[in-house]
Assembly symmetry: C2
Homo-oligomer: 336 residues x 2
């Protein structure tokens, strides 16, 4: 970092440290002439204010944290783009923390924030997060949190989500109308808001069609690609197998296609497939994939905008409000 300090500038100019500091902050107590002299030397000597000294003075770090389960997922990477587009405008820095779906990791990350490293937090919880004490503690310490996508409903703060129930309902209804009689639902966790709402929508669609929910048709998959492949393959290899499948998150898509391929099941002939994903490659898959496409960029942007509005007002307690941005069902060949 540049070694020029206010002290050095003051000595060179034969001024007091206080005068130089005020001149750099454009204080009305300092004459225009002095300000110009100080700024000229600061420029010449490549003086840059230490951001941490300035953070301490203002009790502001100009930094927000984004805590999310993973980055190698089109929803989250597009959401980061949305967040970053707002942060960039506001002159804020963005710290990224990945929980890799681990509650312990999420807890450890959040604990650190109580120290004031960041001014606010955008959070999408891990698949293991079954309670929210660690989150409430951070909010109580005066740091605002906005949830996006995966929320804890019992935490009173701002939340930006998509219409998960409706999407689960729409996806299942579409498959039922296409003739499916038994639809499997791939969930990432029994705790997660998004999994549960999407699943409830799916269950309601079955009910609307006078179909009974078969508990075996709810499959829980995880982070391990190979394991997911086997869970799906086993379910599709049974005598009475599903004829439709809804993947509630993107990462199960490849495993479904590969399992069908290896079992010689044709998509959509033997089994119709829908995934929640924003993958650009959905339409060049074999066959093109029917997707629930989430407004990822918009959700990230909106969550960041809500957070910055609170930071601008020095308002650490956010209203308990939920913004819902709808997703779109893009019907393609995999469900036809």
């Amino acid at each position: 970092m540049s070694n020029t300090t206010i002290k050095i500038l003051a000595k060179e100019l034969n001024l007091s440290v206080a005068t130089v500091s005020k001149a750099l902050r454009d204080s009305h107590e300092i004459s225009t002439e002095t300000k110009q002299k100080v700024l000229a030397l600061a420029e010449k000597m490549n003086y840059v204010a230490n951001p941490y000294a300035s953070s301490l003075r203002k009790r502001r770090s100009n930094t927000i944290a984004v805590v999310l389960p993973e980055v190698a997922d089109s929803f989250f990477s597009q959401a980061i783009n949305g967040i970053e587009s707002v942060a960039q405008d506001k002159g804020y820095h963005v710290l990224i923390y990945l929980t890799h779906e681990s509650f312990t990791r999420e807890e450890a990350i959040l604990k650190e924030f109580q120290s004031g490293r960041v001014d606010g937090i955008l959070l999408s919880v891990s698949g293991e997060t079954s309670h929210s004490e660690h989150i409430k503690k951070v909010i109580a310490s005066g740091i605002p949190i906005v949830f996006f996508d995966r929320v804890c409903e019992d935490v009173e703060t701002a939340k930006v989500i998509t219409d998960d129930f409706d999407c689960g309902h729409k996806a299942a209804t579409h498959l039922l109308k296409q003739g499916c009689e038994r639809i499997a639902f791939l969930s990432v966790s029994s705790y997660l808001s998004i999994s549960n709402h999407r699943m409830k929508g799916y269950e309601k669609a079955l009910e609307d069609h006078q179909l009974k929910l078969n508990k075996d048709d709810i499959l829980f998959c995880g982070n391990d690609i190979d394991e997911n492949y086997w869970i799906i393959k086993n379910a599709l290899n049974k005598e009475t197998r599903p004829d439709g499948i809804i993947a509630s998150v993107e990462k199960f898509t490849a495993s479904i296609y590969l399992a069908c391929n290896d079992l010689n099941l044709s998509i959509p002939g033997d089994i119709k497939v829908i995934s929640f994903t924003n993958l650009q490659t959905a339409l060049i898959l074999n066959p093109p994939l029917t997707t629930v496409t989430q407004p990822a960029f918009e959700m990230g942007k909106t969550a960041a905008t809500v957070l910055f509005k609170a930071l601008g007002k020095n308002n650490s307690i956010l209203k308990n409000e939920t913004v819902i941005i709808p997703s779109i069902l893009n019907i393609r060949y995999s469900s036809s």
Copy 2:
């Protein structure tokens, strides 16, 4: 943030601020008994050290920056995972900055670092970066930079790359052996190290096969998906069109498949395709895609390891060394 300060702890315990501060830092000057008293109260009152005060004292921020063109790309998202796995271990925080391939943005981001916000930087330059003055200035200010993937060769520091020339050569040689006589090469920028090395490998393969390079077969694509689609479609719609195509970055893949589809060109019958990509969906595309798969996670991990080694030694000037981690050509149906 927690409002308990060292001052408050000192007052409660009737000790000097210096004593409490030393006790919290486990100084040998303080008795075990006093330390225990201080720690017990700190715990009870939820005292957390202000990270910025500590940064100022130590002139360390425990933060690194990762500056990269985009996050919605499987190479970069996997590289971030690799970086984060090391940073997490070292107790470091990771700031992410996206240039969106803009030089102006990269320059503005790097300029801020001269203030000491971060201890070190991992950098993959934008497609517009044609010189490196802004990078050299940051290094001169005492902040170490490690390049990964996209490097500036004239900057003397550590670089972690893959075998770009060999991969371009391997990809083109494979297509030539499969019978291609005219191969188009999709580049992202004429400045980028990766594009140029991959292209030189491709040119060398043509030369090895006594084929003349046709300048029209080098296509420059950008960030805009629609525009890329038209560039590719126009090239494939000419009377004398290429019968092979190499995409030097992932984002061109969908446009190639869609253009071929819309022109009724079969892959691989009419045109054989290879992309540089780590997409999990490569093998379920229609047809499955031949890829050059880069060691993205490993490259991120190695770059971070090199940087942390330097930070551990308080060594801001990194040796001008290049680590090369090879990529793999995965041959699938799109080039058969």
